[in-house]
């Protein structure tokens, strides 16, 4: 009966943990509520993407995560 929220990169430090379980289903308002004000502030910006069940959402506000799915919060990337 849960959705796992994953905090990637610097969002992990901001959240104070790598992941958090919340009850399903989870929509955008529920996500903002579940992650705390600091992460929610970042999430509201354009630079943070959201993936649900392994797919990056074109519109993150349309999030609708079901039981057993993983929601990953993806801040700006840097590789190479």
């Amino acid at each position: 009966m849960a959705v796992t929220i994953l905090f990637l990169g610097p969002l992990r430090d901001l959240a104070g943990e790598a992941e958090r379980q919340v009850s399903a289903p989870l929509d955008w308002a529920g996500l903002l509520d579940a992650v705390g004000p600091d992460v929610a502030g970042q999430l509201s910006g354009e630079r943070v993407n959201v993936a649900c069940a392994g797919k990056v959402l074109a519109d993150k506000t349309a999030l609708n995560a079901q039981d057993g799915e993983e929601v990953a919060l993806l801040p700006p990337v840097s590789g190479g």
Binding site: L8, P10, A72, S78
Partner: protein, 148 residues
């Protein structure tokens, strides 16, 4: 010949380039870029993290775009994750083509995307702890050159 990998252990680029070149008989040119952890004062280690469901698949999609955009015979794209130290390779991209421009541009294209548009997060360890690294403005400008 297409070889796209994520590695969790140190690698030796030279050991990959030879077999890659041999696997593309008839090529006219090979271009290779190797990125290493720079020796910066105060930096003790670098750590790259990724997100399993997206990162390798994203590299495969980047390779698809390179094959669609350039006249390529082969592409090798290898990226490290985990903790690394100065002098260790982070990334190796090698492209084989009939003509040099396709090989050179492919490597340039792939590296610009790996730097600031692939699913990796980078942080460095200094005496006072870990610091997250974001792409520089130059990295975004490099990416914008490809007009996608």
């Amino acid at each position: 010949m297409r070889d796209i990998r994520l590695l969790t252990e140190p690698f030796y680029p030279g050991a990959l380039i030879g077999p890659f070149t041999n696997a593309n008989p008839g090529l006219g040119g090979v271009c290779t870029f190797v990125g290493e952890v720079r020796l910066d004062e105060g930096v003790e280690a670098l750590e790259l993290t990724h997100y399993e469901p997206l990162t390798l698949q994203g590299m495969q999609e980047l390779a698809d775009r390179a094959f669609a955009r350039f006249k390529l015979m082969g592409l090798l794209m290898v990226h490290r994750v985990g903790q690394m130290h100065p002098g260790e390779p982070i990334v190796c991209v090698s492209a084989a083509a009939r003509h040099r421009r396709d090989a050179i541009d492919t490597v340039d294209f792939c590296m610009d995307h790996l730097k600031s548009a692939a699913w990796f997060w980078k942080r460095e360890k200094r005496a006072d702890g870990w610091h997250w690294i974001e792409p520089r403005a130059d990295d975004y400008a490099d990416l914008a050159r490809w007009g996608e």
